[in-house]
């Protein structure tokens, strides 16, 4: 069984009834959307571009006009966005249209989507398991065939890890190439919108439609051109340890396949890899404590029924509006920015970030791409005690490096372990998205993307 081709999705309006008959029971089982409006009419004229007539899902921390913008938080449960994020307006201009907002860990903080205050999302491959996070709803919706593609956000792996858990592609572009205007800020120097789809060409088409400088985001960039040459050399970590056996097996098989496909594998070490996670979480929580200071229940958002004075109002709003993980990260971030601790934590982390960038540069001096797992495990079971909040953070080691260095990375489906999808990852130098697409396309000629059981073509026929 294979996922519906993009051409099938162009029938979406004409085959709405059949789609709904297929999609509604799926969505009931997996809960990928917080707002789901597939009945709403799409554009009357869909045009002829690569995205014309395609419905898509948007992670609920990205603004879509007329849709809620909850960030999976009680704090913003009643907020409706009056405007579109730049990435959304560019996709609409290309003829695509939004049919829902997908579930996420509150404000993007988590690796399971179980930190959402507003809904529970299950992995379409096995509903006792998480879809990953924080863009878990987007990954689940795509894997189940409810949308051909979805937008997510990636601050430390939040597109790539759920893509790996759900068996789809997940692109984290070069920092700045996709505008952050309309994205609810969590860690501004690290995060970017990203794209999830089971179709690699569609990932590229969506990326192309969204990319480029935006007057609303002063950190946005036009992509620079890297010298055009085929990908030949791929760096592999010489001292890789700590993978679950199933992931290790897929990793080993992928290495063999890459070699067979003609790539030259170059063993490298990343001495700073062990320090990437502490550096990342120091910076991310520091930025989060500043960015989330704006939520105070005065101009919008959750307000307590009664407050004695303005200060009490703000504290009550935040105390009852935020979940545990968000509070934890805000407090960690507040602490590392406190006077007397800044040099010890925040400045130190930014210097480690410099070392990590230098380390990665050395790798790209020797190879066109870096290959690694996306995550040390496949999708875990809801509430798995061996994967508590802290363990999930440690496991971000393979994904956070790309965010710290601002470079692009792609999680791609690499096979199954015990019936669950496992994703691997290519990381490229800044603006090297084409290399990611190229290598992943070559790999897919050997290992085609496995469709999630039950994701069928039927509705479009």
């Amino acid at each position: 069984m294979s996922a519906p081709p993009v051409s099938a999705w162009k029938q979406f309006q004409a085959k709405k009834e059949a789609y709904l008959a297929y999609a509604r029971p799926w969505e009931k089982r997996i809960g990928s959307f917080l707002t789901y409006r597939p009945e709403a009419a799409g554009p009357s004229q869909s045009g002829s571009g690569p995205l014309a007539g395609l419905p898509f899902g948007v992670k609920d921390n990205i603004a879509v006009e007329g849709f809620p913008l909850t960030c999976g938080s009680k704090m913003l449960a009643d907020v409706v966005s009056p405007y579109d994020a730049t990435v959304v307006s560019r996709l609409k201009s290309a003829g695509a249209f939004v049919i829902g907002k997908t579930n996420l860990d509150e404000f993007g903080m988590g690796s399971s989507t179980d930190n959402s205050a507003l809904g529970r999302t299950h992995n379409p491959w096995d509903q006792t398991r998480v879809a990953g996070g924080s863009s878990g709803g987007s990954a689940a919706a795509v894997a189940a065939g409810l949308v051909p593609f979805a937008l997510g956000t990636d601050t430390g792996g939040s597109v790539r890890q759920p893509a790996s858990f759900c068996g789809v592609y997940g692109l984290k572009p070069t920092y700045g190439v996709l505008s952050r205007y309309g994205l609810t800020a969590y860690a501004s120097s690290l995060e970017t919108p990203g794209v999830l789809s089971a179709d690699l060409d569609l990932v590229r088409a969506v990326f192309d439609a969204c990319k480029g400088r935006d007057s609303h985001d002063q950190t946005s960039l036009d992509p620079e051109r890297l010298p055009a040459r085929p990908v030949k050399t791929i760096a592999v970590l010489a001292d890789l340890t700590g993978l679950d056996p199933g992931v290790q097996a897929v990793y080993d098989r992928t290495l063999v396949a890459l070699k067979d496909l003609g790539f030259t594998l170059v063993p490298v070490t990343l001495p700073t890899l062990e320090y990437a996670v502490p550096s990342y979480y120091t910076i991310a929580t520091a930025e989060a404590s500043a960015n989330l200071a704006r939520f105070n229940g005065i101009r919008y958002g959750h307000r307590p029924v009664y407050a004695e004075n303005p200060e009490h109002l703000v504290r009550q709003s935040r105390t009852s509006g935020f979940g545990d993980e968000v509070k934890t990260r805000i407090m960690v971030g507040t602490y590392v920015l406190r006077s007397g601790f800044q040099d010890q934590f925040y400045t130190k982390a930014q210097k480690v970030r410099t070392l990590i960038r230098q380390d990665l540069q050395k790798v790209f001096d020797r190879a066109d791409l870096l290959f690694s797992p996306a995550f040390p495990t496949a999708a875990f079971i809801h509430g798995d005690k061996t994967m508590n909040e802290f363990q999930q953070k440690i496991a971000d080691k393979f994904t956070v490096t790309a965010n710290l260095a601002g470079v692009p990375a792609l999680a791609f489906p690499a096979g199954l372990a015990d019936g669950l999808p496992v994703g691997m990852q290519f990381t490229a130098p800044a603006f090297g998205e084409d290399r990611l697409f190229e290598a992943a396309a070559v790999f897919a000629t050997r290992v085609p993307v496995a469709a999630c059981p039950g994701n069928s073509l039927d509705w479009s026929k």
């Binding site: 009056p82 120091t282 005065i298 303005p310 509070k327 602490y335 070392l355 802290f390 470079v407």
Partner: protein, 92 residues
């Protein structure tokens, strides 16, 4: 982190901690901070801190008025308002 430090930090973050929270969230915060200390093993002497990976210079734009039609829709999101004013409890 001792309770006093935790309470100071929570106050700065404008979050109230109940008794259960102090223990539960305090443990999570302490665990992360201890983990951060791992970075001390790396020599970073003389390195410039990275604040943004790819943004190298400050950017300026022309100081011109650009109309926005969003104001009313944004004000409409207020939990409590009078005309175009946000209502908050009495300051005194």
């Amino acid at each position: 982190m001792d309770i006093g430090e935790l309470e100071t930090t929570a106050a700065l973050a404008q979050i109230d901690l109940g008794e259960g929270d102090l223990e539960r969230l305090g443990a999570a915060v302490s665990q992360m901070l201890s983990y951060f200390e791992k970075m001390n093993a790396l020599d970073t002497e003389g390195l410039e801190p990275t604040t943004h990976a790819l943004v190298k210079d400050n950017r300026v734009r022309s100081d011109v008025v650009v109309p926005s039609e969003l104001a009313d829709a944004l004000v409409d999101q207020a939990p409590e308002r009078e005309d175009r004013f946000f209502v908050i409890p009495n300051v005194l």
